[in-house]
Symmetry: C2
Subunit: 138 residues, 2 copies
DNA sequence: TTATCTGAGACTATTTTAGTATCAGTTAAG
DNA sequence: CTTAACTGATACTAAAATAGTCTCAGATAA
């Protein structure tokens, strides 16, 4: 069971790169090289981050991506939500068709509270806090 | 992002059925009917639970499955581990080949502590506690 | 005008999860 | 002693999620 997929991990690292160069436009190629992420793949991720308003892009030579808002406003939970969807129960517990036991489902309440817990933790980690740690290690 | 897959959910429900009939051997067919789980699929799950020593089986007519140990000793975390593997980071953070940044990975420590938290929660839920809740709802 | 970039979309590959089908062997009960 | 109701094992297939690739049109800096 993985809490974080490669997608999310790549995206976080890409955002860390952008966060490391404030106000600059960084190309997908540079991100790919710095973090050893497949070039075409990171392009796709960056485009998705753009659609979700975390980054903005600039076309053409010298173009690339830059953070749209301050690192303190970007939470790990946001990134996870984009690439892995909402934290949720197994489907069976929501859809009556699949799980007719719903009202009796004893797992439900437990898991829901754990989910809220996990979400809270992920909300507490911001790009800013990660950038600070990164600097500390250099 | 799902914390619980169908596998695990089915397995929990199957174990709840067995727990509801202490000392009796319950056939896969009966479990399938009671919980509306595909028959062949639940057989597979029960066999796996047997391999992991959570249940024992008896062959032939009148046979079936029964819990091997007391419901108080069966933790949700055990079941999740069997069907979804250990709670772990995305691979990249463990394998150097994939993630050469490991030592600098700022996600690592955060996620590890969240994982331990989740594990602790899942360990706190036992088959016994779920059975009690079920009875309360009847 | 050319090299360097992004946008978009259509692919393919791999892995994980879910589900099925079959056959040999065991056992309870008529 | 035969039959119906079981499990064990294994080999499948199907579907969904994840990871990764390719290509082409258009923007822009030098």
């Amino acid at each position: 069971m993985k809490l974080i997929t490669k997608n999310t991990d790549y995206a976080v690292r890409a955002l860390l790169v952008l966060g490391g160069h404030p106000q600059e436009y960084i190309s997908a190629r540079q991100v790919a090289l710095e973090q050893l992420i497949p070039y075409q793949y990171v392009r796709k991720l960056l485009r998705k981050l753009m659609h979700y308003d975390l980054v903005v892009s600039r076309d053409g030579a010298g173009g690339g991506f830059t953070l749209k808002s301050s690192p303190s406003k970007i939470k790990l939970a946001d990134i996870i939500r984009i690439f892995q969807g909402d934290i949720q129960l197994s489907e069976c517990m929501f859809r009556k068709k699949i799980c007719p036991q719903r009202s009796r489902c004893v797992l439900r309440t437990h898991i829901m509270s754990i989910e809220r817990l996990v979400e809270k933790e992920f909300n507490g980690i911001t790009l800013e806090s990660m950038l600070k740690e990164l600097k500390g290690k250099k």
